[in-house]
């Protein structure tokens, strides 16, 4: 019984756990509940889409999941650690160690080569130069851009740049890939490529949380969480979500 409980705990410790999470902004005299009592658990190996319209609070939620911001009240436990009391530097460390960001605007540094861009998270993790280089190169290899390592971001197409940003997210071998509108700046063909690549990463065992406003993109995930006015109004598997929301969007 005891052994079972321990095993159960070990197996089922969520990677992400939110308990009564609120994020409240003060706008003049008014309080805006960007996140209004969010309770959410995401486990290792999941592929979750967080979907919602502009202003629904999904970006706020993503900032908190990404440890870029702290909740106003409630708890956010990432990989077993409570972020709500962390300092700026502790948040930087936990981002560096556990989260790989994939941004809508790619957010590559234009003055650095692809290799240097992919090396950045490793640099901040204190990995030594030779290992940094080999890990960054193999990460670029995973997205098929190894040969272009010495080029600069502006020499690449949008789709290629997004692949570099995925390589950068993978380089640090993080527990969570956090993708913010990863296809938002891409045409439909390259969007498909990126989505297929994310699916492939999921099938290899990576945990992925993808934020999007687009229902059709959300349907690519295994589980969908829908946010409306700062509240979770749906949390379930994709088939169920499709039957409920696909037509209404």
């Amino acid at each position: 019984m005891v052994a079972e409980a321990i095993e159960d705990k070990h197996m089922n410790t969520p990677l992400i756990e939110m308990k009564n999470e609120y994020k409240i902004y003060i706008m003049g005299t008014e309080q805006v509940y960007a996140n209004d009592n969010i309770n959410l658990k995401i486990y290792n190996g999941e592929f979750v889409a967080i979907v919602g319209k502009s202003g629904s609070g999904k970006s706020t939620l993503m900032n908190i999941i990404g440890a870029l911001d702290k909740p106003t009240s409630g708890k956010y436990i990432l990989n077993g650690r409570d972020t709500s009391t962390m300092t700026d530097d502790e948040l930087a460390d936990i981002r560096n160690q556990t989260i790989g960001f994939i941004f809508q605007q790619y957010n590559l540094l234009p003055k650095l080569t692809l290799l240097e861009n992919v090396e950045l998270p490793l640099l901040y993790a204190g990995v030594k130069a030779s290992e940094r280089r080999s890990r960054a190169l193999s990460s670029l290899g995973r997205v098929g851009l190894k040969e272009k390592y010495s080029q600069y971001p502006n020499q690449l197409s949008g789709g290629q740049q997004q692949r570099v940003s995925i390589a950068r997210a993978l380089a640090g071998n993080p527990s969570l890939l956090l993708a913010d509108e990863p296809t938002g700046a891409l045409d439909s063909k390259t969007s498909r490529e990126v989505l297929n690549f994310l699916k492939q990463l999921h099938s290899e065992g990576n945990t992925i949380v993808m934020i999007t406003h687009d229902n059709s993109i959300a349907l690519e995930a295994k589980r969908v969480v829908r946010i409306h006015d700062g509240k979770i109004i749906f949390d379930g598997d994709t088939e169920e979500y499709a039957s409920k929301f696909q037509t209404s969007n």
């Binding site: 900032n63 530097d89 930087a92 460390d93 981002r95 941004f103 957010n107 540094l109």
Partner: protein
């Protein structure tokens, strides 16, 4: 750390004109410090050197002798006997200002005639060109001999070796020329110049002078360190004789040099301070540019922070960038300052070398400026919220 240096150099090179303009303030400031300090200390150094050539160990005594209270040569020589270790030479100095000097039929109008002792040659650090100097026997025996300057020898006798076979008349009394002194000042080799003089034994000069007192003495200390002691003791002795401080005066050359050096120090510090203000202005320029740089690179900072850069890492990047900028400016300023010092020195015909401490100081100041004025912008960069930073374009 190395990465931060690479980034700093990349950032500086990617904005060459702006970086150069930022550095320009530092370059001008540093060059100004070096030029001003080096030229002034070169110029003043030359003045001190001239004083030193006159003798750092020299002490001159002036007294206003009266029949009741006076200091004679015996008193002075007994003072030397009391302090044999402190003093290396002593000579009375009796000037005969109204004497008529004749060489054959020619009048010497402007020649200085002074009565001195056998030590005077060494005290003045002069050298004999021909013949001999005065000796104790000349002084004690009141011999009618004289030493002449090179101008007197050359002008009235044609050359030094002709002069020492001849004689000169002072107030109608013939003095045989026993020695000629080397030319002291070629630029002023003229009537009334440095080389237009006659020395005779002071014992003879005292007799020829109107009141018969010796008003001036010159002595040399055996070491510069003793000059203060000698000066004090002389003053004590003179006070005991005259009972009135206004009747005598003791001046040590070393104290004049010391005073001069102090004034040089003050002047140099003042000039360095003025130039330092331009460095301060340059520092504000660095800060201004760094603030612009932080604003421009807000997004970059946001990305770096999102990827896990701690505040210290961001801070280090910007501080190093500011420090590298101002250090490069400092080095350029030192090079320009050194070159300008050399050419200005050559133009002013003084030996001006960029002083080591001016170079070290201005280099240090320029590095410090980068660190101090880079701190505030770097701090604001480090404190940026990654979410806000990522949102800007």
């Amino acid at each position: 750390m190395l990465q931060s240096f690479k980034l700093a150099i990349k950032a500086i090179l990617s904005n060459k004109i702006r970086s150069l303009l930022t550095m320009l303030g530092i370059i001008i400031g540093v060059a100004a410090v070096i030029i001003l300090v080096s030229i002034v200390s070169g110029y003043m150094g030359q003045m001190v050197k001239q004083f030193e050539e006159m003798g750092v160990n020299k002490i001159t005594i002036f007294c206003r002798n009266m029949t009741t209270r006076h200091m004679d040569d015996n008193d002075m020589y007994s003072f030397w006997d009391e302090h044999p270790n402190l003093i290396s030479g002593l000579s009375p100095s009796v000037s005969l200002s109204n004497a008529k000097v004749k060489s054959g039929n020619e009048n010497l109008e402007s020649t200085t005639i002074i009565g001195v002792s056998e030590d005077y040659l060494d005290i003045q650090k002069y050298k004999i060109e021909e013949g001999r100097g005065l000796v104790y026997a000349d002084v004690a025996g009141r011999s009618s001999v004289c030493i002449v300057g090179a101008y007197v020898a050359n002008t009235f006798y044609g050359s030094s070796d002709k002069a020492i076979e001849d004689s000169i008349k002072i107030n109608g009394k013939p003095f045989s020329i026993v020695g000629v002194i080397e030319t002291q000042d070629e630029d002023n080799f003229d009537e009334g110049g440095t080389d237009d003089f006659i020395w005779i034994p002071y014992t003879v000069a005292t007799k020829m002078s109107r009141n018969g007192y010796i008003n001036n003495y010159v002595l040399t200390s055996s070491d510069t360190d003793y000059t203060n002691e000698i000066t004090t003791k002389l003053k004590e002795k003179l006070y005991n004789i005259f009972k009135n401080e206004r009747l005598y005066n003791v001046t040590a050359n070393s104290s004049i040099i010391k005073q001069l050096n102090e004034e040089i120090g003050t002047l140099t510090a003042m000039l360095a301070g003025i130039a330092g203000i331009s460095l301060l202005v340059a520092g504000i320029g660095v800060m201004n540019i760094m603030l612009v740089s932080v604003t421009e690179r807000t997004r970059e900072i946001g990305i770096r922070k999102a990827l896990g850069a701690r505040q210290g890492v961001i801070m280090q990047q910007f501080v190093i960038e500011a420090a590298v900028t101002s250090t490069i400016g400092g080095i350029m300023g030192i090079a320009i300052g050194a070159l300008a010092t050399k050419s200005i020195g050559a133009m002013m015909e003084i030996e001006a070398n960029p002083t080591i401490w001016a170079v070290i100081l201005s280099f240090g100041v320029s590095v410090a400026i980068g660190l101090i004025f880079g701190y505030l912008p770097a701090k604001s960069a480090a404190k940026l919220n990654p979410i806000d930073a990522l949102r800007t374009d």
